[in-house]
Structure formats: C-alpha cells, structure tokens
Symmetry: C3
C-alpha cells in the first residue's frame, strides 16, 4: 500500500496524531457499548472530523478522500485497543503526549492549508482550531455526551493561541516555514502540558440556572 522509503518526518507525526485521536474515539465508544464497527466509525470521525469540516468550509475535497492512510491508521488503532485493552490506562501519559503532538500538527496543517488557499489570516486561526478541536466534539456528539473539550482543561484555546502564533509569524516575518511550524507546535503542546499539569481551566459563566433549559 505504502512506499515506505518515501516516509517523511511529517508522515510519522501525522500517524501519531491520527492514531491518538482514533484511540480516544474508540475507547470512549467502547465504554458506551458501541460494537467494533461503531467504535471504528467513532475513531475515524474523531481523527478526520475536524479536517473534514475545515475542507468543506474551504470548498475543497476532504483530505482523507485522497489517501487510504487514515482508514488504515484507524484500523490499526482499533486492533491496538483490542489487543492491549487491559493495559491502556497505564499508557495514558503516552496517549496524552501523542494527542498533544497530533493537536499541534492539526493546528499547523489547518492554518497552513487555509492561508495557501488565499483566505484571510483570521480564517486560518478558525480553521486551525477546527482541525484540532472539532473531531473531539463530533466524537462526543456521536456517543451522546456533552463535549468534553468545552468543560475541562484548556484545549480549544490552545489551538486558537497556536493559530495566532502561526499567522503572526507567517504574515509579519520572513522566518523559515519549518521554524514557524515548530514554534506553533511548541506553543500548543506547552499550553496543553501546563493546563493538564496544573489543572488550568477557563472559568464558567455564573448566574444561569438550569431551568432556562426547560424554557
């Protein structure tokens, strides 16, 4: 399927990110008693959902339709969970690291693609954030839970800040693109690391009573 000699550093990163996102979808779907195929679909939607919304909004063919990579990667994640299901808890720090690396990559890829299509820099920030954060929202909608990323440690905001770093450096400097990408990734990963280590969350708005939901 793949020409392994052509694998580049960015492919390895993309595998790690897709794998980590798919794992999170597969585990949560399994906890809700989804069958194997359902878990696969939720894993795939978690991994490619953000980039798919981005590509639909940008008016281009969704990235995963050009390459079987993402389907195989999700299948690999499914098999991994099937084999190691009793040991996954112990791997949580590894998954967190993989997830953060994936998030950082998705922000960079999303912002870069948006700029290259000629959209305004602020659209690139929105699309970088969508690429990183929307997959997790789709996952939580599919498993019928309130989206986690809006309620716990800083997640989507890390994408926004990473996106702002990326477009600021891209638009106002002549720095090497690799350097800009790595700086953006470092910012996203650092924010995620600090927010989880110190349990940093954004505040919740006060004063709304639950009964407006019955409205």
């Amino acid at each position: 399927m793949f020409d392994f000699s052509a694998i580049q550093f960015v492919d390895v990163i993309e595998f790690i990110g897709t794998f980590a996102f798919a794992i999170s979808g597969i585990r949560l779907a399994s906890a809700k008693k989804f069958d194997l195929f359902g878990a696969y679909v939720v894993g795939l939607a978690t991994a490619v959902g953000g980039g798919t919304l981005r590509d639909l909004l940008l008016g281009v063919t969704p990235f995963w339709m050009n390459n079987t990579f993402y389907l195989w990667c999700t299948l690999f994640a499914l098999i991994f969970v099937m084999i190691f299901h009793n040991h996954l808890i112990r791997l949580d720090s590894a998954f967190f690291a993989f997830d953060s690396i994936g998030l950082a990559l998705f922000v960079v890829v999303g912002a870069e693609k948006t700029l290259s299509l000629g959209f305004a820099p602020w659209v690139a920030v929105v699309m970088g954030t969508s690429t990183g954060a929307v997959g997790g929202v789709i996952r939580d909608v599919l498993i019928n839970e309130i989206p986690l990323i809006f309620r716990r440690e800083i997640y989507a905001l890390a994408c926004v800040i990473g996106g702002i770093v990326f477009i600021t450096l891209s638009v106002t400097t002549n720095l090497n693109v690799i350097f800009i990408e790595l700086s953006t990734a470092a910012v996203v990963i650092l924010i995620r690391f600090l927010s989880v280590k110190y349990h940093l969350s954004l505040p919740v708005l006060k004063g709304e009573r639950k009964d407006i939901l019955k409205h």
Copy 2:
C-alpha cells in the same frame, strides 16, 4: 475594524439577530457548565450554524468567512452575558423581540440568496427555514439536549410560512423588493409573537410508545 459611516439599516438588523442568537447559545451553554470558550463556540454556532449549512448545501463559501463581523458580534454577546448575567431574566422580552427580528431577517436573507443563485423557489423556502432554524438545532445538539424548536411554540413553521410568502411575492408580483422583505419579516414576527402569546404549538403524533426506542 469597521467603517462606521457605512453602516446601514440592514447591518443594524443583522447585528441584532446575530447578537440575540449568540446570547441564547451562550446562556444555554453556561447553564450546562460549559467554560467561557465553549460558551463562545456554542453562541457562534447558534448564530452562524443555519447560514453555514445553507451555504454548504448551496455550494458557496460560508458567509461568515468573508467578514469578522460575526466573531466580534458573538464576543460582544459573551461579554454582555458576563456583565449582566444577574439581570438577563428581566431582559427576556427584549431577547424574545431581538430573536424574532433575527429569525425574520435570516429567513429573508436565506431565501433571497438561494433565489439569486438560480435555485428553484421551493429550495429557497427550505434554505430560508434552515438559515433561521438550524442554528438552534446545532446549539441543542452541542449542549446534549433534545432540540427545543421541535417541541415548543411554533418556530420552524414560522420560517416556512415566511419563506412561502417571500417566494410567492417574489415570483408572482412586481412589488418592490424592500416591500417583499418587510412583508416576509412581518409574517415571521407576527407568527412568533402570536404563538408565544397564546402558547400555540403543533400537535404531537400519538400512539408511539417509548419502547420503540429500545428496538
């Protein structure tokens, strides 16, 4: 950011509508303990979700990607809720009025855009309704509640009737476009006002037992 001298009446209406829709998303998200960023995202999705689905279906770039107006408007709504959260209940009639004005505008804009792209009049009715009603559905899916608009006072049907008025007048008469727009808006607002004042709801289908859900 904005050239204030160029602001027109329709911009004021659009601000009112976007603001009211965003407020409703932000308040409901806060009642479900979403953090500030989550509340912002739900507010934005409520305000621009319907028009975004419309534009994706019509095959054009989503309207909010051409203008930062909607992001600022949602930010303004968030700050407004943060400052006045203890007084929002007393403002409920004002919000209802704003929401109805926004709904009317969204129906007109949605139907008009669809016709201008050369689609059939009945597609314009569907798109006017989507523009008005889908944002609230996306909001309720994100906060993990059953969509309100399908269960309480007449809402989406007001959009359908408004859309039918709009295309009937547009296709069969030579009336001034402003007059057609205002007539449509008046119909939508009147239906909403009457249905809330007199608690008018559509009937619910009888005879289905809850247990088909376990099917």
Copy 3:
C-alpha cells in the same frame, strides 16, 4: 408534479426506501414527543441525510435539491403515520423489508455516483456506506439517543460488504451493470435478513470502564 407515465422501476424502489427511512425517523421523533413539524424534519433528515453528507463530501449539489420528490415522500410518510399510528407495530415486518430494500438501493446509488465522479473505488465503498447508514445516525443525534446502528444487529457492515461487492464486480468484470446492482442489493438484503433473524451482532470491545467518560 410528476409525469406518472415516466415512472420507472428504480423510482418505485427509491420511493420505498425513502418512505421506509422517513417512517423510522417520524416514529422515533414522535416517541420523543416531537411536534408534527419536528417529526417531519427528523423523517426527512433520516431519508436524505446520508446522501446529503455524501454529496457534500463529493463536492456536488445534494441530490434532493433537484427534485421535490423527497419532500413529498416524507410528507406522505408523515400522513401515513398519522392515519395508521395504531397499526404500525403490526406492520413492522413490512417496514423491515422496505428499510432493507432502501438500504440496498442507497448503497448502490452512493457507490455508483462516487465512481462516476472519478473517485477511487475505496471511496465508493465509504460513500455507499454513508448513503445507507448516516441518515440513521443523524436521526439518533437529533432525538438525543446513542446511534442504534452501532449497537444492534449488523447494519453499517452490510453496507460495507455490499459496497465491496459492487466495486469488485464493477472494476474487475464486464458484467452488465444491472446484474452488478442487483447482486449488490441481494448481498445487503441477505446480510440484513440473516443478522436480524439470528440476532447477529458485532462484538463490543471489552475492558473500558465507564469512568473514562468522566476523564
């Protein structure tokens, strides 16, 4: 509205499939106390949701926007449920047969359209599956239930296998296209029939505890 003399066999099949999918959406929405308009919207989304996602991903105008057929068909399903609501349980085997026929048709139509637009065969399998299975997922998200198709008898997997049969025969043989379509449909219907008759389900992943949802 329709030129009845031009009705072909495939139109009859399409009516049966759309009708059966719409009925399932309308019944479940009614069980959750949606009003008539809400039930209509859920019925329509169940019937056209899968094909709409497919068409958005393929970059073409959603099929139902070219023809009022699907709106009328859903209205007919709504009226049918209103009239016969006390007798629907007794019609369950008929609905199951209609639903399976619809599923088979949607897989064939989805895969065929994808190939005709020049996408890779594996994309056609994904799109055939989406056309058949995504409508039911959208239905369950709208009524705020966990998607059924990921938890009970084999459903989406029947679409995948049907899609693989379709592209294998299309790409590797010179068989008549009608024969390929009927073979695909037969496979989908047979798998559905056997899986419901013998309660065949895919296994659920073990080892994930519910508490990762609180994570």
